[in-house]
């Protein structure tokens, strides 16, 4: 027993020693993503994108003559760990701003801690428009809200695809998919369309045969399918829907913005539409996007895995721009400068914050997959956006 106690004491000493701080002259930004656990497939690419951006900025001379340093911890998809990591960023690493996460639970585990220290937190991937009001003044989105993209999808379906009836399949396991589906339904029925059947599944379900059989039994068949789902599930769903012989247009949100969709569904991905930030295509995208994809491929040996990669990348440029315009790495001045961001070009569209609004004004790109290729079908700003 004595040995046990001494062993425990030794562990404690190692721990206390390892808690020591570190100093450096760089401008430190706190980066929090879940590199392991259930959220890792979304957060990993964001982290890659952010690191790439920091590397480019530093290679071009940094910001205000200093290098950007991304201080990162693994959130492990666990709120308690994230809380501790955020506290470390504030206290030990003394970062001037924080960013990260693609899920509102995770954002809410970190952002209040940043706010307490009067540091901004920018979420690169959590698109819930309700989020910033929970942490007033200090929580910003670098992407559009779900209500905006859902409204754009509904208007495009109604006006351009001439869809009058829709089948709705929603992932009940994620805030993102729930909100997206709800906002779509709200705007689509407001325009006069009808949702003929609403079905659900849970994140991670792999067999959709029962839902699909129900869908096939619908008479008359709906004009379109709106499937609200995340990047890990959508390929599987499209594949199984098409395998069952259903060819109707499938519509969705930026969760579809992943090469996996076409890799998994193959030919089945044709006649799929989705709303996203910009056309992520090596050949057809804008020059910034093409440059980003090339740089990403050179760095990580793979194309950007999903839309979150570009969002992580833009978030670092957004912060760098704010620091530059503030002409200071003071957290308070960074926050003020961030709020006045105007027409900052990025690979996910240009970013403008209206006074008092922590959600950027960004156009919505509507992507269409035809003949095994991505096409930019339209770039729209929805006429009317459902209230958050």
């Amino acid at each position: 027993m004595k040995k046990t106690v001494l062993f425990l004491a030794a562990i404690l000493v190692i721990f206390l020693v390892s808690c020591g701080g570190s100093g450096s002259k760089n401008i430190k930004l706190g980066m929090l993503y879940n590199m392991t656990g259930s959220q890792a497939s979304l957060d990993g690419p964001s982290s890659n994108g952010a690191k790439l951006a920091a590397k480019e900025i530093n290679a071009a001379g940094g910001v205000l003559g200093k290098q950007l340093e991304l201080v990162s911890y693994d959130g492990k998809s666990d709120a308690e760990t994230i809380g501790k990591a955020a506290a470390q960023l504030v206290e030990k690493d003394k970062v001037v701003a924080m960013f990260g996460f693609s899920d509102s639970d995770m954002v809410m585990a970190a952002a209040p801690i940043a706010a307490k220290a009067k540091i901004v937190f920018i979420t690169s991937g959590a698109t819930s428009p309700k989020l910033p009001s929970q942490v007033p003044d200090y929580l910003f989105l670098s992407c559009f809200g779900d209500n905006v993209q859902a409204a754009a999808a509904a208007e495009y379906s109604w006006n351009t695809l001439n869809a009058k009836s829709a089948y709705l399949l929603i992932d009940k396991g994620m805030e993102y998919t729930l909100l997206l589906g709800k906002y779509f339904q709200e705007r689509f029925t407001e325009l006069g369309g009808s949702v003929v059947l609403e079905d659900t599944y849970q994140t991670g379900d792999k067999d959709f045969s029962a839902q699909i059989t129900k869908l096939k039994a619908l008479k008359p068949a709906p004009d379109m399918l709106f499937i609200s789902s995340g990047p890990d599930d959508i390929g599987t769903i499209v594949k199984q829907v098409r395998d069952a012989g259903i060819t109707s247009p499938i519509f969705g949100g930026d969760g579809y913005d992943t090469p996996l969709l076409m890799e998994i569904a193959g030919k089945g991905a044709n006649n799929v539409y989705y709303t996203t930030h910009s056309l992520m295509d090596k050949n057809a995208g804008s020059p910034e996007v093409q440059k980003f994809i090339a740089a990403y491929e050179a760095e990580y040996n793979t194309a950007p895995e999903n839309a979150f990669a570009g969002l992580g990348y833009d978030t670092v440029y957004l912060l760098a721009d704010a620091i530059k315009r503030a002409n200071s790495a003071d957290p308070k001045k960074i926050r003020e400068a961030l709020q006045t961001t105007k027409d900052l070009p990025g690979v996910t569209g240009s970013i403008t914050f209206e006074p008092g609004s922590p959600i950027p004004q960004k156009g919505v790109a509507i992507i269409e997959i035809q003949d095994d290729a991505l096409k930019l079908a339209a770039e729209v700003v929805p006429e009317k956006v459902p209230a958050p």
Binding site: L197, Q202, K206, A210, K216, T236, L260, E305
Partner: protein, 298 residues
């Protein structure tokens, strides 16, 4: 689609997903029968097999060989698991064994994240597994037909193995009474290793079929299937092969039935109902729907 066609289509769905659950449940159930170990890491064997297959496919190896190698990798990993993690703790409390299997899961999943990244990868499926066969208005994916046929073949082989070979008979003896089996001169280590090898082989086969159905793989892909297989083996009555198979098909039917029949606002509670049925079975028929009412049989 007429009502008859609708029902036939759902029956086919149930049989094809049930086949996969059955194959998974066999491995869990065999190991539980002998060691009383609920091996949560069984699901990760699916992941190991699928990743091996995908890596070989991207290296240009033809699908048949790559998938055979994947199945072999699952089998080897199952044996390694037994040798390195479970054999040294044999005889530890049930809980410690259960937790060890959790630890093995965490180990394999995080190792996979470190080695292969957390993002999903596509599982390239050859056209033969990817076509739709039409019978009138009924459309059946070729993959489903192949899954069902393969399951039947494997079940026949397994039945022959446990009834005709010495190792197979020893295995059944060990699952009746491990101590007595040892006293009768049965090499317990060999029997347990054989149980792991067979279970892992089945998991490898499921890995290929499952990944082909889903179209993609990721490091955490084993968790949901193992949970389902686990329910299946309890429904059947933990510990025996025929009941694990039955449990797999019953679970498949139950899931499809509930998803297809329940009103839309109740459908999300499907899994809760499945687990409620599981608990009720444990209370009233602890040896499964097939099992005798005799207590603690295994």
């Amino acid at each position: 689609m007429s009502a008859g066609e609708y029902i036939s289509q759902q029956i086919i769905n149930a049989i094809s997903i049930g086949s996969l659950y059955a194959l998974m449940a066999i491995g869990l159930s065999m190991v539980f029968g002998i060691l009383r170990l609920i091996n949560f890491a069984h699901g990760d064997l699916i992941m190991v097999g699928s990743y091996t297959t995908v890596l070989l496919l991207s290296g240009g190896i033809p699908f048949v060989w790559a998938s055979l190698a994947g199945i072999a990798a699952s089998t080897i990993m199952g044996l390694l698991m037994e040798r390195l993690a479970y054999r040294p703790i044999r005889g530890a409390p049930d809980v410690a064994m259960l937790l060890t299997s959790f630890a093995v899961t965490i180990f394999l999943e995080n190792l996979a994240i470190i080695l292969f990244k957390a993002t999903s990868r596509a599982f390239p499926v050859p056209p033969v597994l990817n076509t739709v066969v039409s019978f009138g208005n009924l459309q059946i994916a070729s993959l489903n037909i192949i899954s069902i046929l393969l399951t039947i073949i494997l079940l026949i082989l397994l039945t022959l193995f446990v009834t005709k070979t010495e190792t197979g008979i020893s295995m059944r003896a060990a699952s009746q009474d491990l101590v007595a089996a040892r006293l009768m001169g049965i090499n317990v280590n060999r029997v347990i290793a054989a149980a792991f090898a067979i279970g892992s082989f089945m998991a490898g086969v499921v890995g290929i079929l499952w990944s082909a159905k889903v179209g993609k793989i990721d490091p955490l892909m084993g968790f949901n299937p193992v949970l389902k297989a686990f329910v299946a083996s309890v429904i059947g009555g933990l510990g025996s092969i025929p009941s694990a198979v039955l449990g797999g098909y019953v679970l498949g039917a139950l899931e499809i039935l509930l998803q297809g029949l329940l009103p839309a606002n109740v459908v999300p509670f499907r899994d809760a109902l499945v687990f409620l049925i599981l608990i009720l079975l444990l209370l009233f028929r602890p040896n499964g729907i097939l099992g005798s009412t005799e207590k603690e049989k295994i």
